[in-house]
């Protein structure tokens, strides 16, 4: 199909508001009578609360409410209902909210918070998930079995393990016995912060007469948050009304109730006055959520020529003190520990344990960063030992069209090889590394990833053709910053046959925009794109019927493009606006269309009974090839170049795809080389940007974004997704390049210069 917008790098539709400072983010929302919230947080990682004295705090001028867990004794949890809005009997991580204040000014709220006296009785704490999962560890949630949770997440009673899962396919003993070599390695991947530039925030207003909470938030899934809040408070969905604002970045971090929870607790006591809660950068770094830390053990059998025969994996994930999306990250993330490779015999054990740390949750990749780190580093270890080229060993084992995934799903793997071939070409793979200059040594590395999308999930939309031919697309897909509005508007414009600038996609409002699972799992372009295709086709059909009637034409002979309808027989042409005016006689009216997309009935996801959920309606493939330069005198690793190839199915907007790829490479460099929490008794000591370093413009390498288009048979215009897989191959590609440069293998992230330097000293002292 010929398109006017799809496939083109049209400028983003949200850019004008953003370059002029007009876009409204959650932190910009201001309402009449608005109060400001502040939170008292625990100084201890694990302690019983003996007493909270708020008497002095309530006397601070301007204070309107002081709330503790006793006053607001509710818990929430998307997967396991384990988290109090404000700590009740005990605190389970340092910086957990203990009490909150709403006051006329931020300063008054802050002053009152400092006047709250809390008496704690410290309890033994545990920070390493492997220790926490062992018997005899301090128990963090004594009533774990009693928490409401989905049966998908298998809790181990009497322990800290809140999701345990095992899976095997084939016969790993047989597979390992067929191998010429068996590789056993252990890997570690550290927790990192999302650090969206807009910290978590919420404005909440409670109407006590109707018992309705209205919440302004830049969350990534307003329906999920509203649903969880309603459930926590025993309200109906209509009693929790979410307005989505523009979002100053999410990366998975806005996929949980964070500031919203404090706002709801406070607003319940302010007699209708709205309360604004904005997390400070310190709160964002210490008390929002982080990427799941993970310890991974791999045992892999390989033939001499590099053919994989079996893999056994054991993963221990850190859930932190409460379950955000940790249980699903652990469950779904574990599945791709076998990488994009045909492995006849596989087995894994995955366990997620509570610790006395900040909650872990979704992080761009949803478990894929963790497993790709281990899988791709080990592929390099194998290639090196067997003297097989890292590119060759991957090509040899890659899934091919028609192969079966670990649940029996038939793979659509077109595009996978091409990502590897083009990324390796992009970096000059096989060519001699540039000459070392003095202490500077160069090396190249490569890594591939597989990422599915949560399946099945649903997206709904409404399309409204207004009386003047302008079009409003009502969806609950938020603009998290990744270009959602632009890509969806392009799909709508080409489906209906109207100019892009006639389309408006307002920010979601759960009273008006229909259900969407959320901007998560790289699913929006595909799922909401398909819903918009359906709604768009329906309004297009109706427009053509009306046009045939008004023009007295044969509908088959009408051409409808760029907002103009032409009768090929009479050559009579009419704009959509003229048509709407004729049809509704100038009084006004709407043409409505709706779309509901679910992959539930697609033959693509057919798999073995009971484990269909492991599969995916589409698979995203990506390969990153990195070139690094290591300063052997200082240990500083400089990423010189990254060629990043991604199979996106079809690039609805190539520029937006590049933004995702280039941005992820930067995030990957930052995660891999710079970011690391320093803890003392569970307290994060580096809670500012000065001490928690994220990549700046000075760290920018040459980035070569490569878009591979394999055209998905059921995707909108062939599109799949891009947001998450763009991140996961960066870390192992860099580590593999460092190995190429130095002959030193780093199996633990991050690879800081201190670590590089001490490894170099160790190597050279031998």
């Amino acid at each position: 199909m010929k398109t006017n917008y799809v496939g083109k790098s049209v400028p983003r539709v949200d850019a004008l508001e953003k370059v002029t400072g007009q876009a409204i983010y959650c932190v910009d929302v201001e309402l009449p009578g608005m109060l400001y919230g502040a939170t008292l947080r625990s100084p201890l990682a694990h302690a019983r609360i003996i007493e909270i004295d708020t008497s002095e705090a309530t006397r601070v001028p301007g204070v309107k409410a002081v709330v503790t867990g006793k006053d607001f004794p509710y818990t929430f949890g998307h997967m396991i209902k384990d988290q109090p809005f404000l700590a009740m009997d005990k605190v389970r991580y340092a910086n957990e909210p203990v009490a909150a204040v709403a006051a006329d000014t931020e300063a008054a709220a802050q002053e009152a918070v400092e006047k709250i006296q809390v008496t704690y009785e410290e309890l033994p704490a545990v920070f390493d998930p492997r220790k926490a999962a062992a018997t005899g560890a301090p128990i963090i949630h004594e009533n774990l079995e009693k928490y409401e949770h989905s049966s998908m997440y298998k809790i181990v009673p009497g322990t800290n393990v809140c999701t345990h899962m095992t899976y095997s396919r084939g016969d790993v003993d047989k597979g390992l016995s067929e191998a010429d070599e068996i590789f056993q390695n252990e890997f570690y991947i550290h927790p990192v912060a999302h650090t969206p530039m807009e910290t978590h925030a919420a404005v909440v207003k409670y109407d006590p007469s109707c018992r309705v909470f209205t919440v302004w938030s830049s969350t990534d899934a307003p329906y999920q948050r509203a649903k969880d809040l309603a459930k926590a408070l025993g309200l109906s969905f209509n009693q929790v009304h979410f307005f989505s604002t523009y979002s100053g970045g999410g990366f998975g971090g806005k996929g949980a109730i964070v500031a919203e929870g404090i706002g709801v607790a406070l607003a319940s006591f302010t007699k209708g006055r709205p309360v604004k809660v904005v997390y400070s950068r310190q709160e964002e770094l210490t008390a929002s959520q982080v990427r799941l830390e993970a310890f991974l053990k791999l045992k892999t059998g390989v033939k001499k020529d590099g053919t994989l025969t079996a893999r056994v994996a054991e993963i221990t994930w850190d859930n932190g003190a409460y379950s955000s999306k940790g249980p699903e990250v652990a469950r779904r993330g574990a599945l791709t520990i076998f990488g994009p490779y045909r492995t006849p015999h596989v087995e894994f054990v995955s366990r997620l344990s509570y610790t006395n740390k900040q909650p872990s949750g979704a992080y761009r990749g949803f478990g894929t960063n963790q497993v790709t780190w281990a899988c791709e580093a080990q592929m390099d270890i194998i290639a090196n030992k067997l003297r097989v080229d890292p590119v060759e060993i991957r090509l040899k084992n890659f899934y091919q069209d028609g192969d079966r995934y670990i649940n029996g799903q038939i793979m659509q793997a077109a595009g996978l090889r091409e990502t590897l071939e083009r990324a390796s070409r992009g970096i000059g793979w096989g060519e001699q590394n540039s000459k070392s200059a003095g202490a500077l040594v160069r090396g190249k590395g490569i890594a591939t990833t597989i990422k599915g999308t949560a399946t099945p999930t649903d997206s709904y939309c409404f399309i409204k053709v207004n009386f003047d031919g302008s079009i409003t697309v009502l969806t609950s897909s938020v603009e998290i910053g990744a270009g959602q509005k632009t890509v969806l508007a392009q799909i709508a414009a080409d489906t209906i046959g109207v100019p892009l600038d006639s389309i408006l996609i307002p920010n979601p409002d759960t009273y008006a925009t229909p259900f969407d699972f959320g901007v998560t799992s790289s699913r929006t372009t595909y799922h909401m794109g398909n819903a918009i295709r359906m709604a768009g086709q329906s309004v297009r059909k109706e427009i053509l019927e009306i046009a045939a009637d008004v023009l007295g034409a044969n509908p088959q002979r009408l051409v409808f493009r760029e907002g103009k309808i032409m009768d090929r027989d009479s050559e009579h042409e009419m704009s959509l606006k003229e048509l709407m005016t004729k049809k509704y006689g100038g009084k006004g009216g709407s043409i409505l269309g709706d779309g509901h997309y679910t992959p539930a009935r697609s033959s693509i996801i057919k798999a073995e009974h009971g484990i269909q959920w492991m599969g995916s309606i589409f698979w995203m493939w990506a390969t990153h090839a990195a070139e690094v330069e290591v300063d052997t005198e200082t240990g500083v690793v400089k990423v010189v170049k990254i060629a990043a190839a991604h199979d996106v199915g079809r690039a609805i907007n190539p520029m937006a795809c590049e933004q995702q790829i280039e941005g992820s490479v930067m995030m990957g460099i930052s995660n891999t080389l710079f970011e690391e929490f320093k803890m003392d008794k569970g307290r994060i000591m580096n809670d500012t940007f000065a001490d928690y370093k994220v990549a700046s413009m000075l760290d920018l390498p040459v980035i070569v974004p490569i878009i591979v288009e394999s055209h998905h048979s059921e995707g909108p215009f062939g599109a799949k997704g891009i947001g998450e897989p763009a991140l996961s191959p960066t870390a192992p590609a860099i580590a593999n390049a460092i190995f190429d440069a130095l002959g030193i293998r780093f199996n633990e992230l991050p690879i800081t210069r201190e670590k590089v330097l001490s490894a170099l000293r160790e190597r050279d002292s031998v």
Partner: protein, 157 residues
Amino acid sequence: MKVSIDLTVNGERHQVDITPWITLLELLRETLHLTGTKEGCGLGECGSCIVLVDGTPVNSCLMLAVDAQGRQITTIEGLASNGDLHPLQQSFIEKGAVQCGFCTPAMILSAKALLDENPDAGEEEIKQALSGIICRCGNYKKIIEAVRTASDRKADS
């Protein structure tokens, strides 16, 4: 206690009575309701709150509002003139230099200060000038391209 200060913001003179310890950022966002200027950390470490003070980029979270007495402040809202976008605003749109947009005002204003001073600024100079602003979307490559485009256009005109 309030003090009265006089300053010019985006060409408009303001006389405001403020508590003496508020920052320029608070004055802009809360008193003058110019919310285009963003707060990312409140400690001068992320650059999100940069505005121009007499043409120079300043972290407005670190400057006391009283120190803005008699100064010319430019915020993102003051960049377009008579509805025409500034060339940097235009090039940021065209080159895809905007993702979530939260750092965008600071990036554009810092780039403006750079190009006003050095219209031929090259990649290294751009990197140095903008390196104090964190873009977690990691959109640095396209931001540099956008500034270079505006710089080329400036050189041509």
